[in-house]
Amino acid sequence: MGIKYLYSLLYAVDDMLELYDGSLDVPSILERWYKEEEKSNYGAYIPFIGTIRDEDDIDGLSFDVYEPILESWYNAWVQKAKEKGAIIKMAHSRGDVMLHESSYIAAVFSPKRRVALEFIDEFVEDFKASAPIWKYDLKDGKRIYAKDRSTAIKGSGLLS
């Protein structure tokens, strides 16, 4: 495990978190993941794809990622998946992603559908609540922290 920086899609390693500069090439990631696990005997594959919506007059979003903690958060989920006989994959953007482009894919593969359906929900929700990624609106040439849509990580306020 670890973090992989993918500027081009030349190779892939299982269980690796993929970080991309800018938007994700969704079809090629979904295809590569599908083919990586095609013979692994998983009956269910559920990717969740997040795309930038046109709202509040933004031009796009921008992301800061703190990799060391993202990696340990992700590795804990790899382990949780393993205990259920499942595997996860994840890709996320750094920097600017414009309207109608995608910035996030999380996926679960499992032998049976119930595990996959429940796991993708828990995994995506915990990602939203805990993954050390900060979102900014791109608006009028400015990069504005999306404070109102952000969630304090569990245990926040320790130093206050």
Partner: protein, 73 residues
């Protein structure tokens, strides 16, 4: 020396402090008006592990990170 890093939207340069636990860090940061709101909604990691106790001890070379509210995806 302990290095203090402010992540994401907290626009503040890293600090190098002579402290031995998080309680001392809290006291120092609370003095800065601009930091108060961030202290209320930020989580704290020591050497990239999230911590939940002010008694967490710090030693020379440790890194403390402040993580404000997140929103990936």
């Amino acid at each position: 020396m302990v290095r203090i890093e402010f992540l994401g939207p907290i626009q503040k340069e890293p600090l190098e402090l002579e402290i031995t636990n998080l309680k001392e860090l809290a006291t120092i940061l609370q003095e800065t008006q601009e930091m108060r709101e961030w202290l209320e909604n930020s989580a704290v990691a020591v050497n990239d592990n999230l911590v939940s106790s002010l008694d967490t001890e710090l030693k020379d070379g440790d890194k403390v990170s402040l993580l404000p509210p997140v929103c990936g995806g």
